[in-house]
């Protein structure tokens, strides 16, 4: 009876898994059907068949393209119903009949002009949005002010200030600041206009530049302090010039110590060394790239350049510029302007800094490190055109997320290891789900801990080792096949420490298997092998988790028995495994 019940459960679980499996198929939609007629039919018979279909279903089958004739591939407009009808009536004439899926890149925003934003694709921001869009962070835009144009209507604003005219409303009378704010947080996925890098971040507009485009060092220093005192996480300064200033330096230090990341444009004079404020040590100076990834013709370089980002070039037309919505200061009318300048490059970095902060890395020094370590390095950059390299939003966000135990990270790990499969959950109940879960989570936490403090690369072998060591493919243990012995499945469904007793099918652990012995042997054997080493370390960590959990849930050992003796044995061996893994992972850091 129990076997029957488990089999039914398994079948239900399997069906559920199959029907909910998100392969490519379920991601696509289709309005047409592809039919491939058998080649041996001959042209005349195919034509006849095509006409029959046309008459019978009232459709017009068409060759897919002029190249399709040779392959006899026809497209018919239709839905699921027609698909099944065709499959019934035409299967003997065709090699296959299948839905003509419409493929759409995932994560692409619906903003109609997004296709013109080569700059956002070049910083690889789409995959970064899967993790964060900058929600909860505030970016201060120290510029000509920001006007909340239509494509900034859904963007969140926090109160700013106009230091030029000394008033609270910091609207734009030049068009520069609005454009810069657009790169940082243009309303995105709003079916209008263009996209921004960190479009869920708040914008704090601070006006220090007049309509003509100039401002004083004193006003800028005040604006920096205002931003730091009013909760800004990032400051963007698409401005520069003048000499070194004590007032500005002090304001920058003040903001930096309050945890604000400060970013500034390198300057547009194509000179060796960036302009101030980009040149101050606590400011991230940004040089500009054109759409081919080369230094833009105008961009300054050398001392003070920390990283490079798209600033565009409109020398050969608007397509090479950075497109955002802004205002025409003479008419106050909104328009989409393609601009160039290091002014356009800096806000890309400011946006990514907001994404990094939203991922949990808060300290300005750490944010700078993430930006620089994640940048795509450019070789042979003798004149420091690019600083640490090309800005990479996705790499930055992934690197920033590494230090956190986030729910997202855990689920990604579960998915990558197959634990999100519904079959797992359905059968779990039959094989003591709770201790199994503890072993899986425990091995994840141990591995996470080691990964953060002793960075190493996760490989398939390593993950496989974790599973083998901690829990095995345990859902298999609830699986019974008629007339076949169950022990091979039980064996596959066991973790390494349980192997010693899996064949007999008892819950009592064999101390030879449930100890540090096998992990030690694995490591000794494979320590020199690049892939198998990962498997060995993963297994060691997994065994540590399994033994530790067993020590508290079912401390039963062959020959030793139960109780505190078994518990002590298991705990000591868990500790030894962990120490062994630690030593090997630590070694790998320098490898």
């Amino acid at each position: 009876m129990k076997k029957l019940f488990l089999s039914v459960l398994f079948v239900v679980g399997l069906m559920f898994a199959l029907t909910t499996f998100k392969g490519l198929a379920t991601q696509g939609t289709y309005q047409s059907i592809v039919m491939d007629f058998r080649e041996d039919l001959g042209a005349a018979q195919i034509q006849q068949q095509v006409q029959t279909i046309a008459k019978q279903f009232n459709v017009t089958p068409k060759p897919n393209s002029e190249f399709s004739q040779a392959d006899n591939i026809y497209i018919v407009e239709g839905d699921k119903k027609l698909l099944s009808q065709l499959r019934k009536s035409e299967s003997k004439y065709t090699e296959f009949i299948e839905p003509n899926y419409v493929y759409k890149a995932l994560g692409t925003p619906n903003d109609p002009e997004y296709s013109k934003q080569w700059n956002l694709r070049s910083i690889n921001v789409e995959p970064a949005w899967e993790d964060t869009k900058g929600s909860g962070t505030t970016v201060a835009v120290i510029d000509t002010g920001v006007t909340q144009v239509t494509d900034l209507k859904e963007t969140k604003f926090v109160p700013g200030y106009d230091f030029v005219n000394d008033k609270v409303d910091a609207s734009d009378d030049n068009g520069h600041g609005t454009h810069v704010a657009g790169t940082i947080a243009q309303s995105t996925n709003n079916d209008y206009g263009v996209a921004g890098v960190a479009y869920e971040a708040n914008i704090m507009p601070l006006k220090v530049l007049s309509a003509e485009g100039g401002g004083t060092v004193a006003d800028i220093a005040e604006a920096i302090r205002f931003a730091a005192d009013n909760g800004a996480d990032v400051i963007n300064m698409s401005l520069g010039g003048g000499g070194e200033s004590q007032a500005m330096q002090e304001a920058i230090d003040y903001a930096y110590h309050k945890g604000v990341v400060i970013i500034a444009a390198a300057g547009n004079s194509n000179e060796d060394s960036a302009s101030y404020p980009a040149r101050y040590p606590r400011v991230i100076g940004v040089s500009a790239l054109d759409s081919s990834g080369e230094k833009a013709f105008y961009s300054s370089y050398g001392a003070g350049v920390d990283i490079s980002a798209p600033g565009g070039s409109t020398k050969e037309g608007e397509a090479g510029g950075i497109l955002q919505q802004t205002i025409n200061p003479e008419t106050n009318a909104e328009y989409f302007g393609a601009f160039q300048g290091t002014s356009m490059a800096a806000p890309h970095v400011a946006g990514v800094a907001a994404l990094i902060k939203a991922s949990g890395v808060k300290d300005p020094e750490a944010v700078t490190e993430v930006l620089q370590k994640s940048a795509r390095v450019i070789k042979d950059d003798a004149l420091n055109y690019y600083g640490a390299g090309h800005l990479d939003a996705n790499a930055a966000v992934k690197l920033a997320g590494k230090g956190n135990i986030s729910i997202r990270d855990f689920f990604r790990w579960l998915r990558d290891n197959g634990y999100l499969n519904p079959r797992f959950w359905f059968d779990g109940g039959a094989v003591a789900l709770i201790p199994k879960l503890l072993m899986v989570i425990g091995s994840y936490l141990l591995a996470w801990f080691l990964r953060v403090y002793w960075p190493f690369t996760w490989s398939w072998a390593f993950s496989g080792g974790l599973v083998a060591g901690s829990s095995g493919l345990f859902f298999l243990r609830g699986f019974y096949l008629f007339d076949l012995p169950q022990w091979p499945l039980r064996l596959l469904g066991s973790s390494l420490p349980e192997l010693g007793s899996a064949v007999q099918g008892t819950a009592v652990l064999n101390p030879i298997f449930a100890s540090v012995l096998i992990p030690f042997a694995l490591l000794a054997l494979f320590i020199g092998h690049p892939q198998l080493k990962g498997l060995a370390i993963g297994t060691t960590i997994g065994v540590a988790a399994c033994l530790a959990v067993s020590a508290f849930t079912s401390p039963q050992l062959l020959w030793i028995g139960g109780g505190s003796a078994a518990q002590a044995f298991l705990l000591v061996n868990a500790g030894l495994c962990l120490g062994l893994a630690y030593l090997n992972v630590k070694g790998e850091k320098y490898a």
Binding site: N174, G214, G215, G241, S269, Y298, Q340
Partner: protein, 75 residues
């Protein structure tokens, strides 16, 4: 106070800026330039002051605050 001879140019950086490219090839950003000076290709002699305390969005070179200017004959 300095005097610079050169050609007026409009530079498309950000929202744009007016520049004076000196005969020696150095680019100054014109600050507080009168409307009559803002003509591309104009050969001029500008008298003004380099402002170290002014920053701009164009960042194309030293900021030259215009005091006075003469249009030069283009011969």
């Amino acid at each position: 106070m300095i005097t610079v001879e050169g050609t007026v140019e409009h530079k498309a950086m950000g929202t744009g800026a007016w520049a004076l490219v000196s005969d020696e090839g150095k680019t100054y950003e014109l600050h507080k330039a009168p409307q009559d000076l803002k003509k591309s290709g104009l050969k001029v002699k500008v008298e003004g002051k380099v402002r170290d305390d002014v920053v701009t969005l164009a960042m194309i070179g030293p900021v030259l605050e215009v005091q006075s200017f003469n249009v030069l004959d283009d011969k």
